[in-house]
Amino acid sequence: MNPPDQELTRLIEAYLDDSLAPREVARLSARLEQDKDARALYLKLSRQHAALTLWGEQQTGRAAAQPPGETIPFPSPRRTARRRWAWLAAAAGLAVATLLTWRLARPAPAMMTYAGDAVWETGTGPRADGDLARGEHVLRAGVTRFVTRAGAAVSVAAPARFRLVSADRIELSEGRLTARMQREDARLTVVSGGAEITDLGTSFGVDATQPGKAQVVVFDGEVAVKKGAGQELRLTEGQAAQASEMSVAAAKYDPEAFRDLWPLTVGIHEASETVEFLPPGPMLRPLREYRADGKLFLLPEQQKAVTDAAYAIDLSTDVTQWPDSPVSPYPLMRGHRVSSYLVFFQPVSVGKGVRRLSGEITFHQRVLAIICSDNALTATDARLGLKSADYRTPGQRRGLEEADKENYRGAQLPHDSISLTNGGHTVRFDLFVSDEREQMRIVVAAP
């Protein structure tokens, strides 16, 4: 017997440990495709991996009681399955014990990421460990967000009734939900109003508040809406459809129905009342038309961009105060997968004097950078801004004020300040605004 190829063994073991880079997985695949001896070695090592994995599951020995609310996947009636299961367990064979261990240790299809003020009907909702089990769930009040194991972040607003069939399938019988795919291969099908709505990447909402009907809007990417064996309707960003008993037809795009879900949909957990959210999806009005004297607007921009260059920034997780920091942060380097949000002030009219706008915004993911100087904002518009937004401000400033102005239209205008707290998840702002627009771009890590 030839001594095993050490490099091949290393590749196979790293692959079985799920620690092989994609480039090397491709190399291993190519080797296995061409070399029968390599395949024999793979099967030998992978069978050992399988045996060790099953041994490891036995060691864990999670023979806890069946979690409440979890649906047994047997298609037979629940009570009959339980009696049969009890009989099999009494037999105490290795295969049965393994099935129980496997079944009870099997991860739930979704995990809660935001519970907030959610109130669930008794016996439904998340388990104590924060997982959301297969089966029916009824949300009586509030909003909630969970992430499925198939890569979708789903936000639901009460009152809502839905069935989590699997990690990639939800039946929505009542209520509103939005979904955002968090990675390239994420997948989700929502069944509502008699239609199947399948995500083709990346973000959409379903409104099932009218019995027997479902309104579908696409914020970003593309979805397919199909009813029975009928023709499939493809919708892209800014389009909508209504599904009913009889048909699926194009409808007017109106994201307003999902207003209370907008923040969660774009990955924001909390925000002060000084912040008004703009809907995700394409801009319905030009940027310059969003004006208010007493609040800021938050515009979700890119949701899964990859930085293509090093960008100068003003604040980061290393330099968490602006402008009162002795050092400048390192640039945001290329290759980061990010989401971006523009927070801005635009007055309705001039001459109203100096006002103070303070508050916080808390993100689900960690903030990587905040950009608030003119040049840096302009430099990142193309990559991190919305294609449908016009950011140009010829001859005008757009960033935050980093120094006091002693005589600004006859008054003192203190400088703005921002800070990053809560482990990099919360942006605190203290802005002094007057007649000019002020903007900052918040860049957050994207999964």
Binding site: D17, D18, V25, S29, A95, W102, R183, D185, R187
Partner: protein, 177 residues
Amino acid sequence: MSSRPESLAHVQENFVRHILPLKGFVLSLVPQRHLADDIVQETFLTACEKAASYEPGTNFRAWIFTIARFKVLAHIKRESGRGQLLSAEATTLLLNESLEAEAPDLSEQVAALDGCVRKLARTARQAVELRYAENLGPTEIAGRMGWTVNALNVALSRARIFLRRCVEESLHPGRTC
């Protein structure tokens, strides 16, 4: 196709008897535990849906392994864009050769591992337990044990060689490799 209650019950009872080798088969091609669980469950659900088409007395194991094979390939094709799983072509070849070869009895291997893991040196045993009982990856295990990742990988590799020999000796005393 709806399944009669008796054929469904037959499929369910037999499925339980074959769950260990089935999961072992899936794990050998899709090494991530949670993904293998999903595929086993999908196999079970499909077997239940098709229970009426299974002929009692025929090779049940071959039947569910065939279903599992299609599930594995479908999964590989679905996940191919992520670059973290073997190619569909490599998987197909492995599937063919896996089903042809006489696979060792997995339940005996698992039982033998109990005694063999206890024979490992303390740190090697700890690494194996963290890897397979706690399902941690090499980077995390190395961090916990205060080792470099390279050192951890070498230790795991040596432990696996020891365990293979030990299990072989337990199951076939006196046989040399």
